[in-house]
Amino acid sequence: MEILLYALDSAGLLLSRTLEHIALVGVAVGIATLTGVPIGIAITKNERLAQGVLYLASIIVTIPSIALFGIMIPVLSLIGHGIGYVPAVIAVLLYSQLPIIRNTYTAINNVNPALREAARGIGMSPNQRLRLVEIPLAIPVIMAGVRTAVVLNIGVMAIAAYIGAGGLGTFISRGISQSDPRQLIVGAIAVSVLAIIVDYSLLYVQKRLTPKGMSRQAAAT
């Protein structure tokens, strides 16, 4: 009850923190998609490069977020952004690479060889094959990767409050430092609810982006 009252009292703050949180994750995963998808497509051309890139991306994900923030403070201090927005976005950008690159790579590689051969056989150039056939067919799996990245990093971004990036993590960090369970719980619940809502919204976007003729197969992914 106490918690509910607190949440209602600070509704305005909760909303602005939520928007802040969404903006942080959105910008980071947005940039990650713009880099990850082309990387994922590029490495389908070279098996060894693909293994190397995926290995590197996996290693990055194993670095605990708090450690990653710590590592970035001295480095980014050189350009005056040791804490705050920039390191938070960079961390999320890095964590997002693995699911996005891996899903793109897998999706493009798994395009039915018969379709690939048909596309070659009727005279499509490599770019046309990518644009007209491979990418449209890969979209459901690529989008699934983006969704994973978003959900994963809504959690990571909560920790970024410790380096002053703002977002819903602020409630949690204050709750801990002020021994105030109300703030702690409101922050934690808000992060979870946000993750669930965003995941479902993106699932809707994924279905909209999936080419019509494939909607049956898309249901499986």
Binding site: A118, I122, G123, M124, P211, G213, M214, Q217
Partner: protein, 386 residues
């Protein structure tokens, strides 16, 4: 016209070089279907795919309508060759219309032209344009999908088509229907077609010529009838099967071996006349009775004619079966076996009797080629010597 000049493909595998196609020389005349036939791994598919460079030739040249394709840009080459594959390969993200019009679009046709072309193609493959054009491949049956696959290959009206076991994944009943439809289309289109198959019956049905491959080499290249009548070696012979003479029945029309001499009686003839005619013509057991329009009306058997007195009209049996001039021998043979007959009357399109076909004539026609071949051999085979 497609001409292959010493076309060769060597694959480098960990176990060493494998020659998948070894100096293939052949020519498919314009407007003909050439079936590449052979067991798996014989090089037929490799040979086909070298024509549109899905497989890059190691050496040798491909000529299309007399022009060397070596210098041609790969995409241009492929856009001018229709390509149909066994897995069909319709793009699931595109509608039927988008699938059919993809090559015209790649070739830069304008919208009105390729849209009209899509409807034209649907009419050709006998699918209703309004019902199908806006649908997606996943909503169609396998047979319908492969018809669309053929339509896609034909959309830009290429002079040459390559078909890689196009009907292999379709159930036997639909396959026969699609084969027939395709042959009918081909009569109008007159494309030069290379067609890979591992099915001897399909090869005989579809091919104007058949090329038999074995271990990367072209073993025999001839018309289906020549192939069945005179297989070049033991491999071809065993591949064609021991019933290859029977397969030839499909290729010969009744018209080719019918004898127009046939003795008949009329209903008003006496049985005595009938018996005399049976003896005169040397028939063993019966004679055909025709009505006044020369249509088959019945048969009068020798035993009845010999033992009974009276008129044919009172002592005939029904005609067991007749064949038309354009039926193939397979049907004729089947009718003979089914009705325990050694001969059948033949009728023309108007239904009037124009001759007869006998088992003897059939076996002698099929055997003629075989005997000729034996005669060519300088040393007769031991089996014949005995």
């Amino acid at each position: 016209m497609i001409r292959l000049d010493s076309l060769t493909k060597v694959f480098d595998t960990p176990k060493g070089a494998v020659v998948a196609a070894d100096h293939i020389d052949m020519e498919v005349p314009e407007g003909e279907i050439c079936v590449l036939l052979g067991p798996s791994g014989c090089g037929k598919t490799t040979t086909l795919k070298m024509i549109n460079r899905i497989v890059k030739p190691t050496s040798g040249k491909v000529f299309i309508n007399g022009d060397d394709t070596t210098g041609l840009d790969t995409q241009t080459l492929r856009r001018n060759i229709g390509y149909v594959i066994q897995q069909i390969g319709l793009f699931p993200n595109m509608t039927i219309e988008e699938n059919i019009t993809i090559v015209p679009k790649l070739l830069g046709w304008d919208k009105a032209k390729y849209k009209a072309r899509a409807r034209e193609m649907m009419a050709m493959i006998a699918l209703e344009p309004d019902a199908f054009l806006k649908r997606f491949p996943s909503e169609l049956s396998g047979g319908q999908q492969q018809r669309i696959g053929v339509a896609r290959a034909l959309a830009a009206d290429p002079p040459v088509m390559l078909m890689d076991e196009p009907f292999g994944a379709i159930d036997p009943i639909n396959r026969a229907v699609i084969q027939d439809e395709f042959l009918k289309m081909q009569q109008a289109l007159n494309k030069t077609i290379m067609f890979v198959s591992h099915d001897i019956d399909e090869a005989i049905k579809m091919g104007d010529r058949v090329a038999v491959f074995r271990e990367g080499k072209l073993v025999q290249y001839s018309t289906p009838d020549d192939l069945l009548a005179a297989p070049k070696n033991a491999f071809v012979e065993s591949f064609l099967g021991e019933d290859r003479a029977l397969k030839r029945l499909n290729l010969v029309k009744v018209r080719e071996i019918v004898t127009d001499e046939i003795g008949t009686v009329t209903p008003s003839d006496t049985l005595e006349t009938a018996l005399a005619k049976i003896d005169n013509y040397g028939y063993q057991n019966a004679i055909l009775m025709v009505n006044d329009r020369k249509q088959p009306a019945g048969i009068v058997s020798r035993s009845v004619a010999r033992t009974t007195k009276g008129y044919c009209r009172d002592h005939f049996q029904t005609v067991p079966a007749v064949v038309g001039l354009d039926d193939d021998l397979r049907k004729a043979a089947s009718l003979m076996f089914a009705h325990d007959q050694t001969w059948l009357p033949c009728v023309n399109d108007e239904g009037t009797v124009c001759g007869q076909i006998t088992q003897r004539a059939m076996t002698s026609h099929l055997g003629a080629r075989y005997r000729a071949r034996q005669g060519d051999d300088r040393t007769p085979s031991p089996a014949i010597k005995e």
